[in-house]
């Protein structure tokens, strides 16, 4: 039997639980997770299948013995694991006749010592999808090609690389191939020359076809899309393709170069696969991004990570934001959030915001069930899941508690990102007054935090919209990606931030 989770922890029971315990635990969870009682949360349906599978397995004496033997063998074999730790903003809430908010900080980290353990054979299956439209002409194109060449040098023998160049059509420059003759591969990259417009779907589609050729459980499958332009009319196709790719374990990271590209679209494209999106002001930085990104990828401890969130039927998940490793908003459409890779030394941290219903009863109650899952590349049996059931106390007199500093800190910065978002929304609605007010608020908060540079830029952007009724392309992206980078001092976007204020590179 191929069961990829611990049925005991899924049901929240001990190893010596008897049949009655198992049935009772299942019934209790089924009340919360059954698709009929929880129709608004698709994540619940998936988790419901897991608890039913776990119950059936444990109620069958043969299968249960088989699982126990297998688990003992794996434990003594030193299998690695990851943990899911969930911290709520408060442990007790006031009983109130109105809705309330609660935040949960979910952190997934690799087991200690993960980085020292010798790895099973894992290989990188990397696809570069590079924009070579006319706007890339000159230095930009040369720099990007230089970065790709350097990347080939960095890759290890046995890794797979494919390179696609696209404008309004796609050309396969290097079909998916094992890195062996590096000189030949580099020569192929050097012939890319700029022409035509930008149609991202063409490039993405060709890249996906190449990536699929070497898809496998020991592989880290990743696409990097680099573009400097707007794509028209094919965005929905791109998002659809990204979803398919994510389902097959391919993550897509997106890099926007310069100021003339659609950041909302690239953000969504990347986050719907668990990849990251990045704003790059100057082509000089492309090489650095490529190298660091690939280094992190080949160092991955687990792949195809996800967080499944199933709130109780009366609880509503309002927002999910990844704080680390790459701060970005997450797409929560179906309750299963793709997260791509887990690094050995760097936890994945996600902040979730829930609305609790009005008029909750006194006593302890559950809020949501979170499941962190993914494939641990080191293990023979790769698939692994960690479960956390979150509950809190509803009372008329909750004890005074300070919110955990980690949540306060993350939220103080996330609040800035959201002010920025609201300012953008206001501009898009044509409400200049509202947008100006939001930006001024944002600038004040930034000053309080000592972010003088960014505050200055925000203020000048506020003046700019007063005159033109629109944000400047540059200001729009700078403010967005820099407020985001505040959450992640060690991250790549933060490292690039200092360069964002530098003048953009020349076009020719």
């Amino acid at each position: 039997m191929n069961i990829h989770f611990d049925p005991y922890s899924i049901l929240g029971i001990s190893r010596n639980a008897n049949a009655d315990d198992i049935k009772r635990a299942h019934r209790r969870l089924a009340q919360r997770l059954h698709p009929d009682t929880n129709p608004h949360h698709p994540g619940a349906g998936e988790q419901f299948q897991d608890i039913t599978l776990a119950r059936d397995l444990l109620l069958d004496p043969d299968m249960r013995r088989q699982y126990d033997d297998e688990a003992n063998r794996r434990q003594s074999g030193g299998d690695l694991y990851f943990t899911l730790r969930v911290t709520p903003s408060r442990r007790a809430v006031l009983q109130l006749p109105e809705e309330q908010i609660i935040y949960l900080l979910a952190e997934i980290s690799a087991s200690p010592g993960a980085s020292d353990t010798p790895k099973q054979e894992t290989r990188l299956n990397l696809t570069l999808v590079l924009d070579h439209s006319n706007s890339m002409k000159g230095q930009r194109m040369e720099r990007v090609k230089g970065a790709a060449v350097r990347l080939i040098d960095d890759m290890r023998p046995g890794d797979i690389l494919s390179v696609i160049a696209f404008n309004d059509r796609a050309t396969v420059i290097i079909p998916a191939t094992t890195i062996d003759d590096k000189a030949r591969l580099k020569a192929r990259v050097s012939v890319i020359s700029p022409a035509g417009g930008t149609e991202i779907y063409q490039g993405l589609r060709a890249g996906y076809d190449e990536a699929k050729k070497y898809l496998g459980p020991r592989m880290i499958n990743h696409m990097i899309l680099l573009t400097d332009g707007h794509t028209y009319g094919d965005q929905d196709n791109c998002l659809e393709l990204a979803k398919t790719a994510a389902g097959e374990g391919i993550a897509i990271s997106a890099m926007g170069l310069g100021h003339d590209w659609n950041d909302d679209f690239l953000d969504r494209l990347a986050s719907s696969t668990g990849g990251s999106s990045l704003f790059i002001n100057s082509a000089e930085v492309v090489m650095r991004f490529f190298r660091e990104h690939v280094k992190a990828l080949s160092n991955a401890f687990a792949e195809r990570m996800f967080l499944s969130v199933a709130p109780d039927p009366d609880v509503h998940l309002e927002m999910a934001f990844q704080l680390s490793p790459n701060p970005q908003p997450l797409v929560i459409d179906d309750g299963r959030i793709p997260l791509a890779s887990l690094q050995p030394n760097r936890a994945i941290a996600i902040l979730l915001q829930f609305q609790l219903p009005a008029g909750m009863n006194d006593g302890f109650r559950t809020v949501a069930r979170l499941v962190g899952g993914g494939d641990i590349l080191h293990n023979q049996q790769q698939a692994f899941r960690a479960v956390s059931d979150v509950s809190l106390e509803v009372t008329e007199k909750p004890a005074r508690e300070e919110p955990p500093p980690a949540i306060m800190d993350a939220l103080s910065k996330l609040t800035l990102y959201r002010l920025q978002e609201r300012a953008r929304d206001a501009v898009d609605r044509g409400d200049v007054q509202e947008a100006t007010r939001r930006l001024e608020n944002l600038a004040t908060r930034l000053l309080e935090m000592g972010e003088d540079n960014l505050a200055q830029q925000t203020m000048s952007e506020a003046k700019y919209i007063a005159q033109t009724q629109a944000l400047s392309d540059r200001g729009r992206k700078t403010i967005k990606y820099q407020t985001r980078a505040l959450m992640d001092s060690g991250g790549l976007q933060a490292a690039l931030s200092s360069l964002l204020t530098a003048p953009p590179d020349s076009q020719s």
């Binding site: 309330q100 935040y103 609040t415």
Partner: protein
């Protein structure tokens, strides 16, 4: 609901930062909290206006006396240009010129900046400064920030705190 002490935006309970202005909603909560204005459950609503006939005109050497009901001593106001009536609070950035704390301001629902008395050439104007429980002139609730002429002997109510203004 949890009103932001800075911008007044009503956040849901459990929020940690104001959705509207981004300020920390818990700031200062550990040390000396800002005492929020008590919103009176039975805040008096409009009652019929009562006409008073005292003179409206004041001379340059007229002094203004504010007599809070049931208070032993009247307050003599120095005729400045503009006087804020309200309740002092160490955490607040603006302090009132006339502090109603000695007269049970908190219990009676007086805001930190409740109402403003202003001289306009030879008349005295009263205006509500956006208070939580309202400013009433002779029983009539004033719309916020709209000045009304005050006459000698008028009844001024800040929330539930009743006072009379005399020109002397």
């Amino acid at each position: 609901m949890l009103a932001c002490s800075h911008c007044g935006y009503k956040n849901r309970v459990g929020s940690l930062f104001c959705e509207d202005c981004g300020r920390n909603l818990l700031a200062g909560a550990g040390s000396t909290p800002v005492t929020p204005t008590r919103r009176l459950m039975d805040a008096p609503e409009e009652t019929s206006a009562r006409a008073t006939w005292g003179p409206a005109r004041i001379g340059s050497n007229t002094s203004i006396v504010l007599q809070v009901r049931d208070a032993p001593q009247p307050i003599t106001l120095n005729p400045g240009q503009r006087m804020i009536l309200g309740r002092s609070d160490p955490q607040s950035t603006v302090q009132p010129d006339v502090d109603m704390n000695p007269y049970g301001a908190v219990e009676k629902g007086v805001s930190r900046q409740h109402a403003i008395l202003e001289f306009n050439e030879d008349t005295l104007m009263l205006l509500d400064a956006g208070s939580a429980n309202g400013t009433f002139l002779n029983g009539q609730r004033l719309p916020p920030n709209q000045p009304r002429v005050v006459r000698d002997g008028d009844e001024v109510r800040l929330g539930k705190l009743v006072a009379y203004l005399y020109f002397k």
